[in-house]
């Protein structure tokens, strides 16, 4: 069983990396990687929220939605949970840890309408994962996303100094770059056969 959990963890972090092979979270990926500092802040927030959401939604899915046959409402319920959680975290952090709030608060607001947070519980529900497997997927995906953000931020800091053709400045060149990194990540695909 532990071997299976470990497999899911590594597969979700490297082989099925959310950015490079599942193409999720691109808005955030291109939005926050202009500076290293924001990329790191975003990585922490996302990894934490993804892990918590994986657990929270697993509990709701297993103990509420399956017994009452509410599977078809999963989109509405999962996004409701994410929104409620983010609102609660926002309020609690403002009271309990103001310093942390001013550092990470702006990222929290962006999370509600973000596809990668929602994708974790949806994949868990589709695959019928157990609690441990769900946590492995949440944590693995979060760390994989952090890795992607940090790699991209370091490259884009250097890119500032490069002489890019005018039509390609900004997003177009970032897309081409991401494609090159995705090619490199393709090398991981032979590591584990699922």
């Amino acid at each position: 069983m532990w071997q299976h959990v470990l497999t899911i963890f590594i597969a979700s972090a490297l082989i099925n990396n959310f950015v490079f092979s599942r193409y999720l979270g691109l808005c955030i990926f291109f939005g926050v990687t202009k500076r290293m500092e924001t990329a790191v802040g975003m990585s922490f927030t996302f990894t934490a929220v993804m892990l918590i959401q994986a657990v929270l939604n697993w509990i709701i899915y297993t103990y509420v939605m399956i017994p009452f046959h509410l599977g078809f409402l999963k989109i509405v319920i999962f996004i409701g949970t994410v929104a409620a959680f983010v609102q609660a975290a926002d309020t609690i952090m403002k009271k309990v840890a103001p310093a942390l709030y001013y550092k990470l608060g702006i990222y929290l607001a962006l999370i509600v309408t973000n596809c990668i947070i929602l994708a974790v519980p949806l994949i868990n529900a589709d695959e019928n994962y157990t609690l441990m497997e769900s946590m492995a997927l949440g944590l693995g995906s979060g760390l994989g996303f952090s890795l992607a953000l940090i790699i991209m931020a370091s490259i884009r800091e250097k890119l500032e100094l490069a002489d890019v053709p005018k039509s390609f400045q900004g997003l177009p060149i970032s897309f081409v770059l991401t494609g090159l990194i995705a090619l490199a990540f393709l090398g991981f695909s032979g590591m584990i056969t699922l």
Partner: protein
């Protein structure tokens, strides 16, 4: 905004002026994910067109009843409802395609473009302009996805809509994950170039919005 001319302008704005994918650079995830073939891109575009239009219409109809303090959660739930509808329809009638891209259909709910049109346009306008805006934006999205689909499927598999045209696979990489990023990047750069060369624009499409 009641005469036909401005409605037409609104319609065109979604397709060209503020094309969601290439100009606003919003909701890029599915643009890369599902466009490995024309058919997938087209179906995804249709799903988005439907959700976009219906959300705009619903928000516009309810705009006087929703308390501004809870407007964002309300819009999210309206979108989630319509996404559930299209999700169930696709699951029933397009099984093969749904298996491949069901996750992305469900994730339409988290599209920035839908929420931003509801917030910026439908909540302030009457039914008809909101409807036209939804159709225009949705078609703009559809067009972008089909364009990318044609580009990638032709180069990657030598076929269009599953029909073989070439007997070779010129650039296999185009249907792989990396190729999706290349295709969007090249297309965006190309459109920027056209914009600067022929229309005197700044070519700033996708230049930092998100």
């Amino acid at each position: 905004m009641s005469n036909n001319v401005s409605l037409w302008a609104l319609f065109k704005n979604g397709i060209f002026g503020e094309n969601p994918v290439f100009r606003l650079a919003l909701s890029l995830c599915p643009a890369v994910a599902v466009t490995s073939g024309v058919k997938n891109g087209f179906l995804m575009g249709v799903a988005v067109l439907f959700v976009m239009t219906m959300t705009n219409v619903t928000v516009s109809l309810l705009r006087n009843f929703i308390n501004p303090k809870v407007r964002i959660p309300s819009y999210v739930f309206i979108t989630a409802t319509w996404v559930t509808v299209i999700d169930q329809v696709m699951a029933a009638y397009q099984r093969a395609v749904y298996k491949e891209m069901g996750l992305y259909i469900m994730l339409i709910v988290a599209f920035a473009i839908i929420l931003s049109r509801a917030e910026m346009f439908a909540s302030k306008n009457k039914l008809l302009p909101s409807f036209v805006d939804g159709i225009g934006m949705g078609l703009g999205f559809l067009l972008a996805l089909v364009l990318l689909g044609v580009f990638r499927e032709f180069l990657g598999k030598g076929s269009l809509w599953g029909v073989h045209i070439l007997n070779a696979k010129p650039l296999l990489i185009m249907i792989m994950p990396a190729g999706g990023f290349f295709a969007v990047g090249l297309m965006m750069g190309w459109l920027n170039w056209i914009d600067r060369k022929f229309f005197g624009g700044t070519g700033g499409g996708g230049g930092g919005h998100h």
